[in-house]
């Protein structure tokens, strides 16, 4: 047996599950547990990178038949450029979040905070299982394995979301669990119906067999699958559960959820829409859904008072961008959508991690209680500012490049609806900038003295100068007071310096976000080839069935 890149395909799942087993076994030895999980995720990242490079150089998808059972009967795992790229990005952010939570755990080891930190031996195994579930969904070559991947990551996410079992998290967990289960059941019914119609769940075989079905049957199956995935991806009418449940979890958990879970839904939409149901049958429906997701999401974000909730709404809103690209179903649209997914996973995760830092530094994420952070925590301000501008799509950053790619694709398509979507995405981008600058202005810049200097119109300067002081107070602690000796009584002294273990991973992810800008050229090359591969369909099918489809 000679070595081929195919050997790498199952490793992201296998390594993470083995790591999860070891971390459970050494549950009481916090240090060992941390080492094992970091090493595991670093290995997963290495394997994913190797997969991406080999799949891009080999030029065709890599397929593995688990246990040697031939394709339609056994479980097929397939890695093409899209899957490999997703694996790399997800492994990167998971590793970053894990390092961050270790830093957080070490920093709060003596206190009773315990947010995703040392006191809970269950945290590390669950994170690894979550990573395994996400990877499994990305490499699944049949619908049922995709379902299993979803269930694995959902079960892990249920545990992470209700970590500690406080009243607030149980409340948020209940709606999340029920909604996720219903979405899974819709997906599972769709799998059953597809099996009844075609006699297979293998994606490559379905790609050829679904073409033979009557049009109405295919439409029902397509809509059922879309419905299930859209709940998971938080596409507008089905997105209400997300801002309800995400913000209550500990910062690292919210960060990894925001980055990965909805994107698994987006990935599944891309995979099924291109491989199983090619053509533009649902383009109009998806475009409308994309427009509504963008606008309703961002209008929700503008109204929020809490940074984490605001970020949850921007998360929903920017799912609309990806859906826009998918709906166009042109090569340019898909390529830009894939680029946007990679960009958005990184940025959204980083922003939630930074929100965790803000919470630690300022004692709250509520905009009415924060103020003046730019003076007391300049590094934190930079860490927030860069990904925030990136999210809003300010020119040098990758958010801008992704949005431009989408708009170009929309303009190429040329109908009135794509042009409406372009207008909608520009508006959403501006409103994102507004929501972000609202956070910036209130949490970071709202310093009485600074306001007086910065704002030329005297009229409301007075109010601005007066307000923060009267509202910033409260039991949680006032960041401004840290610089002012006379108010020491109100400060939690140990939050004065953010632990390096949390700052460095967050800074590293910010750097990764900026690196996406720098490598945007090669990355767009990869996504272009991925989109081409997706639209052709034959490379995927031929990788699974080298001797022709049975």
């Amino acid at each position: 047996m000679t070595w081929t890149p195919e050997f790498l395909v199952p490793l992201p799942v296998v390594l993470a599950l083995v790591g999860a087993g070891i971390t459970i076994a050494v549950g009481r030895h916090t240090r060992t547990q941390r080492t094992v999980s970091v090493v595991t995720l670093a290995l997963v990242l290495t394997v994913s990178l190797a997969l991406l490079i080999s799949v891009d150089t080999v030029g065709h998808p890599l397929a593995v038949q688990v246990g040697g059972w031939p394709a339609p009967d056994g479980i097929t795992l397939v890695v093409d450029r899209l899957s490999a790229l997703m694996l790399v990005v997800s492994a990167t952010v998971t590793l970053g979040v894990l390092l961050y939570s270790i830093g957080q755990g070490r920093a709060s080891a003596d206190s009773d905070e315990g947010d995703g930190g040392a006191p809970l031996p269950i945290f590390h195994p669950t994170m690894l299982v979550l990573s395994a579930g996400v990877s499994n969904a990305f490499i699944a070559g049949d619908l049922f394995n995709l379902y299993v991947g979803f269930e694995v990551l959902l079960a892990a996410s249920f545990v992470l979301l209700t970590l500690g079992g406080t009243a607030e998290r149980i409340r948020a967990g209940v709606s999340y669990v029920v909604v996720s289960l219903i979405a899974s059941l819709i997906f599972l019914s769709a799998v059953a119906m597809i099996y009844a119609a075609t006699g297979t769940v293998n994606l490559a075989q379905l790609a050829t067999r679904l073409d033979d079905l009557p049009d109405s049957t295919t439409l029902v199956l397509q809509l059922m699958l879309l419905l299930g995935f859209c709940v998971k991806a938080a596409v507008f009418p089905l997105s209400g559960w997300l801002p309800d449940s995400y913000p209550t979890a500990p910062a690292p958990v919210t960060a990894v959820f925001a980055g990965l879970l909805t994107k698994v839904g987006v990935y599944s939409i891309i995979r099924t829409q291109t491989l199983l149901f090619p053509g533009d049958r649902l383009t109009d429906l998806l475009l409308w859904a994309a427009l509504a997701t963008m606008l309703v999401g961002i209008l929700g974000a503008v109204a929020q008072d809490d940074i984490k909730r605001m970020l949850s709404f921007t998360l929903i809103s920017h799912i609309g961008y990806m859906l826009f690209g998918i709906a166009l179903s042109s090569a340019a649209g898909l390529s830009a959508a894939i680029f946007y997914v990679a960009h958005h996973i990184t940025i959204q995760t980083t922003l939630f991690l930074v929100a965790g830092l803000i919470e630690r530094r300022g004692g709250s994420t509520s905009l009415s209680q924060l103020g003046g952070l730019v003076k007391v925590a300049p590094v934190l301000s930079i860490l927030f500012f860069i990904p925030a501008m990136n999210l809003a799509g300010i020119p040098p950053f990758s958010g801008f490049l992704g949005k431009v790619g989408l708009m170009q694709a929309g303009a190429e398509d040329g109908g009135w609806l794509p042009y409406t979507l372009i207008a909608g995405s520009v508006l959403t981008s501006l409103l994102t900038l507004y929501a972000i600058s609202r956070v910036w202005g209130r949490a970071f810049w709202r310093d009485p003295a600074a306001q007086l200097r910065a704002d030329p119109s005297q009229g409301h300067v007075i109010e601005a100068a007066a307000r923060p002081v009267s509202r910033v107070g409260g039991p949680i602690g006032n960041p401004e007071a840290a610089t002012d000796g006379s108010r020491e009584g109100h400060v939690e002294v140990d939050t004065a310096h953010l632990p390096l273990g949390m700052m460095v991973p967050a800074a590293a992810l910010v750097t990764v976000g900026m690196a996406i800008t720098i490598i945007a050229g090669p990355l767009f090359g990869v996504t272009d080839r991925a989109a081409g591969e997706l639209r052709e369909r034959t490379p995927y099918v031929e990788a699974v069935f080298p001797d022709g489809v049975p």
Partner: protein, 183 residues
Amino acid sequence: MTPNIVLCLLVGVLFACGVYLLLARSLSRSLLGILLLTNGVSILFLIASGPAGRAPIIGVNAPEEMSDPLPQAMVLTAIVITLGLTAFILAMAHRSWQLARSDNVEDDLEDVRIAQRAVDNDMSDSEFRKRDRTDGDGAVRNGADGDGADGDGAVRDGAVGDGAVHDGEPVAATHTRSEEVDR
């Protein structure tokens, strides 16, 4: 393939009852609803596997008499997954009962609060609107936002008021503000 009409009807009934139960606020009812739905999906797989045949074991039965084993494997997997998740929901319902003595699904408080601000036409948070507001209104708002730390806020207001004296103009505003809070 001719599906069994009884099984089809059964799936319909299970789905209908499941959806009805899911509409309830109580978590235990929702759980029962999810269980019914899952059973409905399992039977859907049985319909998908075609007419019932003999056990699919090589050497015991002839291949043409066998029923399709693949949906059975999938149903088994789905049942195991549902079992685990059901246990988790039960644990959550129990915890909810421990904490709140009810297993009702509660509203999101922050969401309700923001919706209430919309009703009060207080969405903007802008400095412009604050000026139009009467003193009494402002005081109420402050009480609501300050999380019961009004005393604290008032003390600090005083401090800044003193500092602002040198600037001349801001004095009036700050003092009004602290008076509001004091009230």
